[in-house]
């Protein structure tokens, strides 16, 4: 039976990816602004699909489970924003393609005591040309490194915004998201003008 137009769903889903090294505070960041407690979903993947597409289904491969934490924010204009935390372990980096597909952009959370933990994420979003911002998580509210030092350590392009935040604090997380969407918007506007 066909549903009438008035019964059509009205919400549009959009998403932002929250990446960074293991233990950098991704789920805390998502939880600070999500209207639901961050939930965890699992995908069963074949070990062989790590790095390549899941092409063969012969039932003989070993499988593993990858978990993703996510949150949801209802926005006005009938939008619903999903925030996805990337799986922290390196061996699940291939999942990032799936997460990044169709994303407005990404937040790369950085702990300045372990900057190398976010290199993989920065490489990935640069190569994929996904708009991203670097959000330095100030553990205990302390700004340990100046912005120029962070930029130097991460070797990011000058146009990539760097924001300081406390991942536990809602307004901080909100500000990071605003910075990201503004960045994505300015890039999209440039691209539209170029086409």
């Amino acid at each position: 039976m066909e549903s009438s137009p008035s019964e059509k769903p009205r919400l549009t889903p959009v998403k932002i990816v929250v990446a960074g090294g293991f233990g950098v505070g991704k789920t805390t960041f998502v939880g600070a602004i999500s209207e639901i407690e961050p939930l965890r979903s699992e995908a069963i993947i074949t070990e062989a699909s790590a790095g390549i597409d899941d092409l063969y289904e012969d039932g003989t491969k070993t499988t593993t489970t990858v978990a993703m934490d996510f949150g949801r924010i209802s926005l006005k204009h009938d939008l619903v924003l999903y925030l996805f935390g990337t799986p922290g372990q390196d061996r699940f980096h291939f999942m990032w393609n799936e997460l990044a597909r169709g994303a407005i952009g990404a937040v790369v959370l950085v702990d300045t005591r372990r900057v190398d933990a976010c290199f993989a994420a920065i490489d990935f979003f640069e190569r994929r040309e996904t708009p991203f911002v670097v959000a330095v998580n100030m553990f205990y509210g302390r700004k340990l490194h100046a912005e120029e030092d962070v930029r130097e350590a991460l070797r990011i392009q000058p146009e990539v915004p760097v924001v300081y935040c406390d991942a536990r604090v809602r307004v901080d997380v909100q500000r990071v998201l605003v910075t990201l969407v503004e960045h994505a918007l300015s890039r999209a506007t440039t691209e539209v003008a170029a086409n």
Partner: protein, 126 residues
């Protein structure tokens, strides 16, 4: 939370191999439904609900309000791949509709900048 990583039937009571629910299909033959795609039960789906196996019936129950694929996986404690297959089947039967997110090919359109502007307004006014 992790029902399938380490079997914990006491939590969900579901001692079923996850892909048994999908007849062994893993969804690799289907176009990938986005994790954030919204599933919504149709009135017809609500009426047909009891004709489906419980896991599909559960999806209809949970999607009276729009619910994303990834949320369904978390709420029903089944892997994302299983939800994708079941939701696609339900959509084929007219029991649910699936709203896709804007595709990446939209990125260089005016519509996309409008969308981003709305998202920005929305986040600012939280």
């Amino acid at each position: 939370m992790s029902v399938w990583a380490i079997p914990q039937p006491a939590i969900s009571g579901r001692i079923v191999r996850p892909y048994t629910m999908t007849g062994g299909r893993t969804g690799s033959d289907l176009p990938r439904i986005a994790l954030e795609a919204l599933v919504t039960a149709t009135p017809a789906g609500m009426r047909m609900r009891t004709r489906f196996r419980w896991e599909s019936a559960d999806i209809i129950t949970h999607t009276r309000k729009e619910t994303a694929i990834i949320e369904l996986a978390a709420l029903l404690e089944v892997p994302i791949g299983v939800v994708r297959v079941l939701a696609a089947d339900l959509a084929d039967k007219g029991a649910v509709t699936i709203t896709d997110p804007p595709s990446e090919t939209d990125v260089t359109s005016d519509g996309y900048t409008d969308l981003l502007q709305k998202v920005l307004d929305g986040i600012k006014s939280l």
